[in-house]
């Protein structure tokens, strides 16, 4: 049975779409058939981050409203086997997402896929509620920063009260914390919340810590999920998070400042 994962945060700009793209690609690289759905109706961006923006013909909303079949809207990734993207509409608004419609599309996807990642919009309005409603797992994306941590706590409350699982008395949605844009140098200087601080406040299991990295912008510029950049710390950290999600015990890395020796500095390894 397929697993529905919501990538959510409450706050905007913390890296939900970057993480959905990287995490979904990471799952597909493990040989698991994965579909990433963009729930940000009216502000679609997953297609751009995945580099398939020119291949969008039909979208998620068309499928919900019966204007296209699912197979016409799904875009197969050209780099990674087993990876598909379901883009959203750029012209409609969030009211186009109906509970019954979303459920029907997810049920159809579940027959074919191992993992379905719902890339949530920011906020706690309809789009975000629909993205998390049918989730089995939730990955909470948070920056080590006060407003992001507060909003993460808020969205955890929403998950525990308003998801399908909560409303039907089923086992609760499994929660995982993904800390992004972590800067060990600033943590060491006492300028940024430490991983342990965020964990103590939110008290949910830690899935991964993605270090602040120039590779993320480089990857989005060219429409490549950052996990495919195997020379980057951020890409490796996403790959680790995927392995942990699948049950491997992988030690967290990149939590300490990189003390580069002269030799490494001369080699100019990318961060």
């Amino acid at each position: 049975m397929a697993n529905v994962i919501v990538m959510t945060s409450g706050k905007g700009g913390v890296g939900k779409t970057t993480s959905s793209a990287a995490f979904g690609t990471g799952l597909a690289l493990k040989g698991l058939k994965t579909c990433i759905i963009d729930f940000d109706v009216g502000l679609r961006n997953l297609d751009l981050i995945m580099g398939c923006e020119r291949r969008v013909v039909f979208d998620f909303i068309n499928v919900i409203h019966g204007e296209a079949r699912l197979n016409q809207a799904l875009i197969k990734d050209k780099r990674v086997e087993n990876l598909f993207i379901l883009p959203t509409s750029q012209t409609r608004d969030k009211d186009a997402l109906t509970t019954a419609g979303v459920e029907r599309v997810l049920e159809e996807l579940k027959k074919e896929f191992d993992f379905i990642i719902c890339d949530s919009p920011a906020g706690i309005e309809r789009g975000a509620l629909m993205a998390l409603y049918f989730a089995d797992d939730a990955i909470i994306v948070a920056n080590p920063e006060v407003s992001s941590v507060r909003d993460s706590d808020r969205i955890l409350g929403v998950l525990q009260a308003k998801s399908y699982r909560a409303e039907h008395g089923l086992a609760p949605v499994r929660e995982h914390l993904l800390i992004t844009r972590y800067d060990p140098k600033r943590v060491e200087r006492g300028e940024m919340l430490r991983v342990d601080d965020v964990l103590e406040i939110l008290s949910i299991p830690l899935l991964g810590v993605i270090p602040e990295s120039p590779a993320v912008l480089r990857a989005s510029n060219v429409g490549m999920p950052v996990v495919l950049d195997e020379d980057s710390n951020a890409g490796l950290a996403y790959a680790d998070a995927v392995a942990r999600f699948l049950g491997d015990s992988v030690e967290h890395r990149f939590l300490k400042p990189d003390r580069k020796g002269l030799f490494n500095r001369l080699l100019r390894r990318t961060a």
Binding site: E191, L193, E200
Partner: protein, 97 residues
Amino acid sequence: MNILEFFRTSKRPTFAATAKERLQILLAHERADRNGPDFLPQLQRELLEVVKRYLAIDDDKVAVRLQRESGCSLLEVNVELPLSAATPAHRPARAGA
């Protein structure tokens, strides 16, 4: 900066420690509100209306909280009166008026 100031500033909590403390206090409040039953805001509004019929108080001076402890629940109603409110603001309205 003289040497004394240097030592004094070094004892201040770090920015991160301040952030953590602020979040812990804030979230403790927000979580308590979140777990409250849905009728509390309505109860608070209605209590305020009734109190205002008799006393001149500000809208934020009635606080209602529900605390759950093992075995019992405690409904705590706090009405904060200004010193001048000890005398009635106006004659009590007749019931139903």
